[in-house]
């Protein structure tokens, strides 16, 4: 079953209406429960459309996976395909991850005052 994007937009609008514009009480509880029920049914329907575990027809098994399996050793010289993807084919992504780590440490040190700047 194809899930219509309009349904999702309607659910989000219904949630916003429920949480911000209805008074606290039994009506609000009923509305919250009904919204949760709709979301739950949608999620279960979406899960039932997923391919089986290990199925050969899964959308993830396309020519990209085949390319990596065939071209890793000739193009990178590494026998670990995961490492070759992380640090060769997708090394820009790894550079971004290193930047994320650096930013996290810089923010933590700035907030905790661990570099010696006294308040």
């Amino acid at each position: 079953m194809e899930v219509n994007p309009l349904i999702i937009v309607a659910i989000v609008l219904l949630m916003a209406y429920t949480f911000f514009y209805t008074p606290v009480g039994q009506i609000r509880n009923f509305l919250v429960l009904s919204v949760l029920f709709i979301i739950g049914v949608t999620l279960v329907l979406a899960v039932s459309e997923m391919p089986l575990f290990g199925s050969a027809e899964a959308p993830a098994y396309n020519n990209v996976a085949l390319f990596y399996i065939e071209e890793t050793v000739p193009q990178t010289g590494a026998i670990n395909a995961v490492a070759a993807i992380i640090t060769d084919f997708r090394s820009f992504d790894t550079l971004g991850e290193a930047t994320v780590l650096f930013t996290a440490v810089a923010a933590a040190l700035a907030n905790l005052g661990a570099l010696g700047n006294k308040e």
């Binding site: 590494a78 060769d88 780590l101 440490v105 933590a108």
Partner: protein, 140 residues
């Protein structure tokens, strides 16, 4: 925490944990592992040391200044290895096109830039975790 059993066990365990972390970093292109996992293992050994011996003893092993240098150095090593590819006539972070040593697949010195980048990422993850632990545990 000052416990004889904990300190003795940690003194025995920490070298092996660090050796295993270095193995994970340097054999990242041959076996499961890589810079992130190996760096996390090495950082875990430092944190274990700090937990059992106290913050003062641990900061004599890896000083905060050294940790900050490693933090910047890991990222700089990554970027410089990438710029090296441009110098050698390839693109940024190019591997084979830049003429890095390919070697025979399956040997330790093979794969060109992959080992350098894993080393840089390993240093960076190690110092990130150690620095975060130090700065969070300083105030108690």
């Amino acid at each position: 925490m000052d416990d004889l059993v904990t300190r003795s066990v940690c003194r025995l365990m920490v070298p092996f944990v660090q050796l295993y972390g270095a193995y994970l970093v340097f054999y990242g292109h041959l076996s499961p592992g890589g810079g992130f996992a190996g760096g996390a293992v090495i950082a875990a050994s430092f944190i274990l040391y700090a937990l059992s011996f106290g913050q003062e003893t641990a900061s004599r092993r890896i000083a905060p200044g050294i940790s900050h240098l490693m933090e910047s150095g890991g990222g700089l090593l990554f970027v410089l290895a990438g710029l090296f590819g441009i110098m050698l006539g390839g693109t940024f972070l190019a591997n084979k096109a830049a003429g890095f040593y390919m070697g025979i697949p399956g040997q330790l010195f093979s794969g060109g830039i992959i080992m350098i980048l894993s080393f840089g990422v390993g240093i960076k993850v190690t110092s990130t975790m150690v620095t975060l632990y130090n700065s969070l545990s300083k105030r108690g």
